[in-house]
């Protein structure tokens, strides 16, 4: 009886010791990482203000751009609104870092953070990849990665052995396979010349084009409607667009170092400020502007 009682006890003791031995190295390592970190963090907190830390952590004209936003936003006359903010990559919900009550996004003021000059111009977004093709219809897929406000056109790259005769196409863009909703449809003609690239610019660019889509693909369908012709002449499609659309805005504040940050006011609202003599807004713009913008 004694023996049968002792063996389980030995196993229990062994299990407990094994448990502690297994956990010990990682627990000790964690504890010795935490200790110095406490000292370092305490020093940082001691020598910095809360504001400094926010700018260090969330950036001035980069990252979330808290430093630049703090220069522009707090004095906006309407205390309920937060401007529309655009970044070079994707939206970061900067208003949650502000302690005020500004929660309503208002597009009368547009702020750009962490940008290159090309981000406000038309650029190549990406190249579409052919997914399938039959005699007259080919299907192409692409995703934008970053946010793009406008789709402005397409570059069609002709194959080296293409027949170089005039061809007519219908291009249809769908939101995605999952949501097969048509975004737009265009007709275009490839001219009979020696150019290997045929560009079409949309008369009406597609606005609010691609936001927070992640890796979701757009679906582009290309249909050759030239009688007795196939679609084998097109070997690639480049998608053209603009990250930040400032066509309806006037920049009133600009900071440019390695990166570009700007603040702009909607033209129609600026007219309203002038016509209706909105003094608070006029004073705000006069006080904060650092560029010679449309007076």
């Amino acid at each position: 009886m004694t023996m049968s009682y002792q063996y389980p006890n030995i196993l229990k003791k062994f299990s407990i010791i094994a448990l502690i031995v297994l956990m010990l190295p990682q627990a000790v390592t964690s504890f010795f990482e935490i200790g110095p970190s406490i000292v370092d963090d305490f020093k940082v907190l001691h020598r910095s203000t809360s504001n400094d830390l926010f700018v260090t952590n969330y950036g001035y004209c980069n990252k979330v751009g808290v430093g630049y936003l703090r220069k522009i936003v707090p004095s906006i006359p309407d205390t309920e609104i937060f401007p529309v903010v655009r970044y070079g990559d994707w939206y970061r919900y900067p208003h949650v870092l502000f302690r005020d009550r500004r929660i309503k996004n208002d597009n009368r003021v547009l702020i750009g953070i962490d940008l290159h000059k090309n981000d406000i111009r038309e650029t190549k977004i990406t190249e579409a990849v052919m997914e399938s093709a039959d005699k007259t219809i080919s299907t192409w897929l692409f995703h934008t990665g970053f946010d793009y406000e406008l789709l402005t056109g397409y570059n069609f790259l002709l194959c080296d052995n293409s027949s170089l005769v005039e061809e007519k196409y219908i291009v249809t863009l769908y939101d995605s396979y999952k949501n097969y909703e048509e975004i737009g449809q265009w007709f275009f003609t490839i001219q009979n010349n020696n150019e290997r690239i045929s560009t079409i610019h949309l008369d009406e660019p597609i606005s609010d084009f691609s936001f927070t889509r992640g890796a979701t693909n757009f679906v582009l369908e290309l249909k050759n409607i030239t009688p007795n012709n196939s679609n084998k002449n097109i070997c690639g499609i480049e998608i053209l667009g603009v990250k930040i659309d400032i066509r309806d805005y006037t920049i009133f504040h600009l900071e440019e170092n390695k990166k570009l940050c700007f603040s702009a006011i909607k033209n129609s609202f600026y007219q309203e400020i002038k016509n209706d003599d909105l003094t608070l807004w006029q004073n705000y713009l006069d006080g904060i502007s650092n560029v010679d913008f449309a007076k």
């Binding site: 389980p8 006890n9 196993l11 229990k12 003791k13 299990s15 407990i16 094994a18 448990l19 502690i20 297994l22 956990m23 010990l24 990682q26 627990a27 964690s30 504890f31 935490i34 200790g35 970190s37 406490i38 963090d41 305490f42 940082v44 907190l45 001691h46 910095s48 203000t49 809360s50 830390l53 952590n57 969330y58 970061r92 919900y93 208003h95 949650v96 870092l97 302690r99 005020d100 009550r101 929660i103 999952k178 949501n179 992640g214 890796a215 979701t216």
Partner: protein, 454 residues
């Protein structure tokens, strides 16, 4: 440093009000950590109700602070009696755990105030909701409207005590929750608290403390809430087995209600809490019926009524959304709907991919997983009295794995993207099973040293 001082008033809504509220209602029926958890969940539920009724946070914050102060005044004898009888034993072994927790809390507070807030959904969902609720925006107009808002609502309420919204202040919630979660382990164990228990709890606290505790995401909070419900159910199983002590049996019945309440609050923290809560309640009933020798109608009745209350708690958030004209069937957009469940049979080819993610998650927690698995196995052989508890905990894990598999077998979002962004978070929601099984077995096994001394 002034930042930390200006955050001090947060101690009132985060610690004082929940404790006083629960003690004044439930007297000495619960222990200290369970009182706090009970109080914070009641307070959060009350703020959620008031917000849903369209009352501005400025008004209900004053109302609650005033109401609880008044309640404390009238129940002062009850509260003083609780503090008098609880006389929490503070010995060297417990001091080891408290020292560890103090170091971890200090680390957490400093990290919150000196580092960037991380976590994909923290800005667009949780802080976004908190700031909107703080400003009095109705639930039906919140960003990501279908996601439950219990914690953002409480955080907005707590921030009223510091005079304004601040993104960092909501992050303390997870820290305090963690403190009382570890603190509750004392109650799970026997009254004799050995040196081994102190070392094991301290190691568990250190190893399970990471940025997910205070980054503002709700998954770790959900995990701790489900862990608290499990502790209540486990104590209930233990007390139900007590054949000779009616006081313990009655206390056990009370703890079943606590488990039901904690489980019912999980869906108000995160949508997945509906499944986790249902698993906890369902399994607890199975275990209870298994250990009750004669399952009479009266016993069934005793357990059916709490289940009805659980269903009522689960229904709160959908009802709030429904009354705000929100489509309650569209929780995850088109990615996950009831109809997408029909796709599972066509998506079985995903199983190997899901298994890869499962294996890499297990690899990331291998110390916990294997120690709890091996210890549970040995305990099932050597300590039959732990059988129900261990079966309960591991069944929670297995059923939750099954639920997670169903999610990824039926999702219409790009699979790899969905796995990359959600798999580990979903798996972490039942992490408590490894912690509790390790702790319970370790405590039981460590008693052999005590027998040696006796």
């Amino acid at each position: 440093m002034l930042t930390l001082l200006s955050d001090l008033p947060l101690l009132i809504p985060l610690i004082l009000l929940p404790l006083l509220l629960s003690i004044s209602i439930f007297k000495d029926k619960l222990d200290f950590p369970a009182h706090w958890w009970n109080g914070i969940l009641l307070l959060s539920l009350a703020t959620t109700f008031f917000h849903a009724l369209g009352i501005h946070p400025d008004i209900y914050s004053i109302f609650f602070a005033f109401g609880i102060t008044l309640g404390v005044f009238f129940r002062r004898k009850t509260i003083l009696h609780f503090f008098h009888i609880s006389q929490f034993p503070f010995d060297f072994n417990r001091a080891i755990v408290f020292f560890t927790l103090l170091v971890l809390l200090t680390y957490g507070v400093l990290q919150i105030n000196t580092h960037t807030i991380i976590g994909g959904d923290v800005f667009p969902i949780w802080l976004n909701k908190t700031k909107s609720i703080f400003s009095g925006i109705a639930y039906s107009s919140l960003p990501v409207v279908q996601y439950p808002s219990l914690i953002p609502t409480f955080n907005a309420f707590a921030m009223k005590f510091t005079g304004g919204y601040h993104p960092n202040r909501g992050l303390y919630f997870g820290l305090v929750l963690f403190f009382f979660w570890i603190f509750s382990f004392f109650n799970l164990l026997k009254s004799r608290f050995s040196f081994f228990d102190a070392i094991v709890i301290s190691f568990i606290a250190i190893l399970s403390f990471d940025k997910s505790v205070f980054n503002g995401m709700q998954d770790t909070i959900l995990m701790m809430g489900a862990g608290m419900a499990s502790i209540a159910f486990i104590k209930h199983f233990e007390y139900s087995r007590s054949k000779f002590d009616d006081t313990l049996v009655l206390k056990g019945r009370g703890l079943y209600w606590v488990g039901i309440f904690f489980s019912g609050m999980l869906p108000l923290i995160k949508s997945e809490g509906i499944i986790l809560g249902a698993i906890l309640v369902g399994l607890s009933m199975v275990i209870v019926f298994a250990i009750t020798p004669n399952t009479s109608i009266s016993v069934i009745k005793r357990y059916i009524f709490p289940v009805f209350v659980f269903i009522l708690l689960v229904a709160i958030w959908p009802v709030i959304l429904y009354t705000g004209d929100v489509n309650i069937t569209n929780i995850q957009g088109d990615n996950l709907t009831l109809s997408s469940l029909l796709d599972i049979s066509h998506n079985l080819g995903r199983v190997p991919i899901i298994m890869n993610y499962f294996m890499s998650y297990i690899k990331s927690i291998y110390i916990y997983f294997f120690t709890s698995l091996v210890l549970s196995g040995i305990a099932l052989w050597l300590s039959p009295k732990l059988k129900q508890t261990l079966i309960f905990l591991w069944c929670v894990g297995v059923l939750n794995w099954l639920f997670i598999s169903i999610v990824f077998l039926s999702t219409r979002a790009p699979l790899i993207w969905h796995l990359d962004t959600a798999f580990n978070r979903l798996m972490s929601q039942h992490f408590f099973i490894y912690i509790l099984s390790t702790l319970i077995v370790a405590q039981d096994f460590s008693q052999v040293w005590e027998y040696d001394h006796e």
